[in-house]
């Protein structure tokens, strides 16, 4: 009968798209559960084909017989059962599906088509419709089973986690104790499960901190998924400037640094009920500090629940710190691990500068191949100390792997092939890698240490601690019994330290101390840290912050310090931002600051690639590396404007650009901009879009965003769930992941890069308004030489005191042997990635300009210094991210200490650089100019800071013009000062006898007479109590150097006429400088008057320049200008004599 019907509608063809479309009209209309064109719809038709084939096969094998048999059995069963279940007698798979598709409207249609089918039309007959419906039912049932299977599996996995059986215990402990320590090794499930246990136990407002941003995002995703999105937006993450947090958020993953910032705003942390601090064993600076802050905060917020989660390392320390808090230790799921000590023989041990010898590692690979059959799966995890070591070993392993075809490096290995993962200590506790059976432990780790005296960072290799060693071993026993090869002797192991040195003992504490100050935590030396840092470290940081002007002499925050504490960047970069916002250079400074605060976008490994070098060439700026970064960023934005995604990149430049987008420079920049705007620094930067086109633009942007979101979703769907199985020939181009937060893109093998670039770009565009960025870049692009000079000054002032002096003999040395000196470290070299490593000539003093004055003295007007971002010692001390600046000008404008002799021809800067100017007249002029410019800069900065507190309104009119004026003055000073001088570093001996020191009754004593303490802008010139001489401003001390050629030149008066006013009289150098500092050109005085600030002081044009001066001789308060004061004093002086 079935066959008859099928014959009847012979014109029906299931494979015809037309016929299928007709059924789509019935089952998959636009408002239906599954819509035509959707992915499910596609899946359905694929399913349909399989289903039809299955049916045909079953029909052929003749199920009729079984059916009859079934009927008979059914009769029997009626008799035996007590209860009649009323089940249908004939089995049909259809009865096992609990879904039906409501067919009322289809039946209507059916009536019509049945009619038609009798007339042999091509529409679907009732048979076709019911076939399709049946398939649909089976399809729905199938997808239900599939999803439910996943859910069941997820729940099973959750239950199987070691931590699951402690669920109630954990909740109970948290209810009864304010602090609980949960200790368990990686993979026990603490990070994902504990927050969920608390959520389902009814806790609200849970914060869970993570040391890494990427962990915040992935944990939020994972927990949200595991809780089946039941909490929807209730699970979120928040990292610097990026958040999914809403008012409904109950569980928030955030970075430690961010929680600290929140505490800064909300002293008692009232917004949270529970704070979980995860990975406390990693002992990061922020984490240690956070624990200290939370500890003192618990007193003010007794209801707060604090949970510390740790690997099983040094748990007692944490428990003791919190008043013997209860510890819940979750035993790990660990299989037995065989430990094999295989110390490296002396002949294969490499010295500090040599490459690592790969032989010991290859022997282990070989041994594994010999001992374990390839059918026994199990991958190898190799712990090395750093990137260079990884690439050395990786190269060697690759050769071995190609040779044996038994190994592969990264991702999932095909059966019979082992994967070899080479990692730094990052894989000890922080990354979970499945399938590892063998571990090779080099026993080494590279750690950053900090020398507070030289302010030098050192990246050195150390033996690991026993704790790390055990963690590494543990990675072999996660999925089954494993083997750990240790490339050291058991006696070495016994000599290892028990625990790694916490970061707080190893790094510069500048930012930490600044933050402590801004959180009003009192004296940093008496703060109760879990493991207090050395007092010397704290002291160094305090001194540094004072030098930087962030703290005043009493150690209290200055206005700029307060601002810097709020900026989530390094003090140095913060300073640049503040300065950049003063001048009209925000866009460029933002880019540079962002680029400097993330990893370099330039790959070290690609440096040896000649094509790569050529591609980069046009981006290079011999002004300095920050300018190269700026060019690169601008070029990248420019390129992404003109061409669609990746087709424009040749593979080489692609490396550059993909790194830019993936290391998040753009992102970082964007974030910084937000901060700057938030802090109301960016007054000039925020141009208001014309309001008419505003809405239009917003709408366009919205549509664009929607499209991008769709692209991202599609990409995720494509990628989602698919596990990558590696091909053996892949990944041999020397690629490796860097093991940092930004490693995502670096995993991309060459052939996958294109796809990667797309999604990176989409993600980037999602986060940022690219057209706005392009506009901003347009502003920042093609800096004029004036802007460039100014930008350099800002960078230099930010970076100060990180300055390096080129060695005087550099011009006679090879390019690769150029040497530099910093104040505290001699003989440093430029990092090979820096532009000055390849182009050192630009730092040399031009030959023709060079008139020899003696064996050690080169006079020139073109001496230069390097301002650098980092001084890092690896095998040599390297300067990286350098920018060159004109020496004299830069020093006078940024240095904290400038000391002069009597005629100002000899200057000592910061006690280590000596400048000798040839012409006294020129010397006086340049010094005087610098003093004036600096005073104005300080004044405007102060006003700006004041205003950033008060609000933006007042800024605009007030100082725009003075800022432009100052900018111009600075540029002129930087670019057109033609003063001939020599520049050299003082020897240790010379620095001992620099100053005359305080003098009581020497010949010069009359300079200290009260009558001579002249008023200068910003304060009174007082005798310097240590150096001697007169401290004229907070950075300039006059005539304090011992070797003043002429003891009387100080009081020697030379006739001088002021270019601004009609003053013409004999003045000492100091008097002249002081006059110049206060006397302005007539035009400028007019302007000053217009400023609202001066309006406050009084209406008369003179009033802005006058001040109240108390004359001790007359014993009277006089209102005079500086010049008048000078004249007034002289009057007394002459009469006294």
């Amino acid at each position: 009968m079935d066959a008859d019907k099928r014959r009847e509608s012979r014109s029906w063809d299931w494979d015809s798209p037309h016929c299928r479309a007709q059924l789509d009209e019935i089952f998959f209309r636009q408002h239906d559960y599954i819509q035509a064109g959707s992915p499910e719809h596609k899946e359905f038709w694929a399913f349909f084909d399989r289903f039809q084939r299955f049916k045909t096969k079953r029909d052929m094998s003749g199920s009729g017989a079984t059916r009859r048999e079934d009927r008979e059995k059914g009769k029997d069963r009626r008799k035996t059962s007590k209860v009649d279940l009323g089940l249908p007698q004939e089995y049909d798979a259809r009865y096992r599906i609990n879904v039906s598709v409501c067919t009322r409207d289809i039946e209507e249609r059916l009536g019509r088509t049945e009619h038609r089918s009798k007339q042999r039309s091509s529409g679907p007959g009732s048979q076709e419709i019911s076939d399709c419906r049946l398939a649909l039912l089976h399809f729905l049932d199938f997808s239900q089973r599939q999803s439910f299977g996943k859910l069941a599996k997820l729940r099973r996995e959750q239950k199987n986690l070691p931590i699951f059986q402690y669920r109630d215990k954990i909740v109970g402990l948290v209810r009864s104790h304010s602090v609980v320590v949960v200790a368990g090794d990686t993979g026990c499930g603490k990070s994902t499960q504990v927050p969920q246990y608390l959520l389902s136990a009814g806790f609200d407002h849970i914060a869970c901190t993570q040391p890494r941003r990427i962990a915040c995002i992935s944990l939020a995703k994972r927990v949200s998924f595991e809780s089946l999105n039941q909490y929807g937006s209730k699970v979120g993450y928040q990292i610097r400037f990026e958040t999914t947090r809403t008012t409904a958020t109950k569980l928030l993953f955030l970075t430690e640094g961010l929680l600290l910032r929140q505490i800064q705003q909300d002293k008692t942390l009232a917004q949270y009920q529970v704070v979980i601090v995860d990975e406390v064993h990693e002992r990061h600076l922020h984490c240690d500090f956070l624990l200290g802050v939370l500890r003192s905060l618990l007193a003010d917020h007794p209801d707060l629940r604090l949970i510390l989660m740790s690997a099983t390392i040094n748990i007692k320390l944490f428990s003791d710190y919190f008043n013997s808090a209860p510890v819940l230790q979750v035993p790990g799921r660990l299989f037995p691990i065989q430990v094999i000590y295989q110390p490296i023989p002396p002949e294969e041990q490499s010295s500090r500068t040599e490459k690592l010898d790969p032989r010991p590692y290859l022997r282990i690979l070989q041994a594994i191949d010999q001992r374990y059959p390839p059918e026994e799966r199990g991958d190898l995890l190799l712990f090395l100390s750093g990137v260079a070591e990884i690439s050395t070993i990786q190269e060697a392993c690759q050769v071995y792997a190609t040779h044996t075809s038994r190994w592969i490096v990264f991702d999932i290995a095909p059966p019979g092939v082992r994967k070899c993962i080479i990692s730094t200590n990052i894989a000890e506790t922080s990354v979970t890698i499945d399938g590892v059976r063998f571990v090779v432990d080099s026993g080494k780790v590279k750690e950053m240490s900090f020398d507070p005296k030289a302010k030098l960072q050192r990246l050195q290799e150390f033996w690991i601690s026993q704790a790390s060693s055990e963690q590494r071993k543990g990675r072999a026993g996660r999925t089954g019994p494993g083997v750990c090869y240790r490339l050291y002797a058991e006696s070495d192991y016994n000599a290892f330290a028990s625990y790694p040195v916490p970061e707080i003992h190893r790094v510069a504490l500048d930012s930490l101390i600044l933050q402590m100050k801004s959180m009003c935590l009192g004296d940093p030396l008496s703060f109760v840290f879990i493991d207090p840092p050395p007092a010397a470290s704290i002291q160094t940081a305090l001194t540094y912050l004072k030098e930087q002007g962030a703290l005043d002499s009493c150690g209290e925050l200055t206005p700029i310090g307060t601002l810097l504490a709020q900026l989530p960047v390094d003090v140095v970069i913060g300073k640049m931002l503040v300065l950049g916002s003063l001048f009209n250079l925000v866009e460029s400074v933002l880019t540079v600051a962002a680029a400097l605060s993330v990893q370099s976008p330039f790959l070290r490994s690609s440096q040896h690639n000649p094509d790569c070098a050529t591609a980069r060439q046009p981006l290079h700026s011999n002004q300095g590396d920050p300018f190269t970064l700026l060019n690169t960023f601008n070029a990248w934005v420019e390129v992404s404007k003109h061409v669609k995604s990746c087709d424009m990149f040749d593979t080489v430049s692609m490396y550059v650009f993909i790194y830019l987008s993936s290391t998040g420079e753009g992102t970082e920049r964007w974030r910084l901009k937000e901060v700057v705007q938030e802090e109301r620094l960016g007054g000039a930067a925020t141009r208001n879009a014309p309001s008419g086109s505003d809405r239009e633009q917003r709408r366009k942007r919205l549509t664009e965003r929607r499209k991008l979101h769709q692209m991202k979703r599609d990409h995720e769907q494509q990628e989602g769930g698919k596990r990558k199985v590696l091909r053996l020939d892949e990944g041999q181009d020397g690629e490796f992941s860097s093991g940092s937060d930004t490693e995502e893109a670096s995993k991309g093998k060459k052939d996958k890069t294109e796809q990667n670039i797309d999604i990176q770009e989409v993600k980037f565009k999602l986060r940022h308004n690219v057209s706005e960025l392009q506009e901003a870049v347009g502003v920042g692009q093609d800096l004029s030489s004036r802007q460039q000079a100014l930008l350099k000054l800002l960078l230099c002032r930010g970076l100060y005191p990180q300055l390096a002096l080129p060695d005087e003999h550099n011009s006679t040395r090879k390019d690769s042997e150029q040497v530099f000196h910093t104040k505290n470290k001699q003989g440093v070299v430029i990092h090979p990635t820096s532009v000055f490593a390849s182009d050192p000539e630009v730092l040399h003093v031009p030959e023709d300009d060079n008139s020899e004055m003696g064996p050690d003295r080169k006079d020139s007007s073109r001496h230069q210094l390097l301002a650098f971002v980092t001084l890092l010692e690896t095998n040599k001390p390297y300067l990286s991210n350098c920018v060159r600046v004109p020496a004299l000008q830069a020093l006078l404008l940024v240095a904290n200490s400038v000391d002069s002799n009597a005629d100002c021809t000899r200057l000592i800067v910061d006690g280590w650089l000596e400048l000798e100017l040839r012409e006294p007249e020129e010397a006086l002029k340049v010094l005087s100019k610098a003093l004036t410019l600096r005073a104005e800069l300080e004044r405007l900065l102060h006003v700006q800071l004041q205003q950033s507190k008060l609000g933006e309104a007042a800024v605009q009119g007030m100082s725009r013009r003075s800022i432009e004026k100052l900018g111009e003055g600075l540029v002129r000073f930087l670019l057109y000062t033609e003063v001939t001088y020599s520049l050299r570093r003082l020897t240790a001996f010379q620095t001992q006898n620099l100053y005359i020191g305080p003098h009581s009754d020497s010949e010069l004593s009359h300079t200290n007479a009260p009558g001579l303490s002249l008023l200068v802008p910003g304060g009174e010139a007082k005798p310097d109590p240590i150096k001697g001489g007169l401290s004229v401003t907070n950075f300039f001390t006059y005539n304090c150097l011992t070797d003043s050629r002429d003891l009387y030149s100080e009081c020697l008066r030379i006739f001088w006429s002021c270019p601004n006013c009609d003053l013409y009289m004999p003045l000492t150098p100091l008097e002249r400088m002081q006059h110049e500092a206060s006397c302005r050109p007539a035009g400028e005085q007019q302007q000053l008057e217009e400023e609202p600030e001066s309006a406050k002081t009084g209406p008369s044009s003179m009033s802005s320049l006058t001040r109240v001066y108390h004359c001790n001789v007359c014993n009277e308060d006089l209102t005079l200008t500086s010049t008048e004061i000078l004249k007034h004093k002289r009057q007394h002086m002459y009469s006294a004599k």
Partner: protein, 117 residues
């Protein structure tokens, strides 16, 4: 904090046999956004968390038509054959089920035993 504590047990489906538990958003035969689709039994339904499309539903379980036990749809816990039966009831009345089902259950029992031994 209070509302959630009260809320959560009310909206959580828990299988009485395997203890699987999960929050549900709907109980009945016509989950939201299902259009032409109707369930043939009263079910505990949630949004399908594994579907990128948020509109999809997922049946977690229902009540046994004989003993009214709350059971999940997992094949170890229940079976649907025109009605929902929990595994305990199925085993009690095994002879009333068609032999296809009996064979299938026997086979599964066998294979799970094999896996254990």
């Amino acid at each position: 904090m209070e509302p959630t504590t009260n809320e959560s047990p009310r909206n959580t489906f828990t299988c009485q046999l395997c203890d699987l538990s999960s929050p549900f958003i709907y109980y009945g035969q016509k989950p939201p956004n299902t259009r032409a689709i109707v369930l043939l039994e009263e079910c505990f339904v949630t949004k399908d968390p594994f579907s990128p499309d948020k509109e999809k539903f997922l049946v977690l379980g229902s009540t046994c038509s004989l003993c009214s036990a709350c059971v999940c749809v997992g094949s170890d816990c229940s079976l649907f054959y025109t009605k929902r039966f929990c595994m305990q009831c199925v085993n009690k009345h095994l002879d009333q089920f068609p032999h296809q089902i009996q064979a299938e259950l026997a086979k599964r029992k066998h294979s799970s035993k094999a896996a254990v031994s």
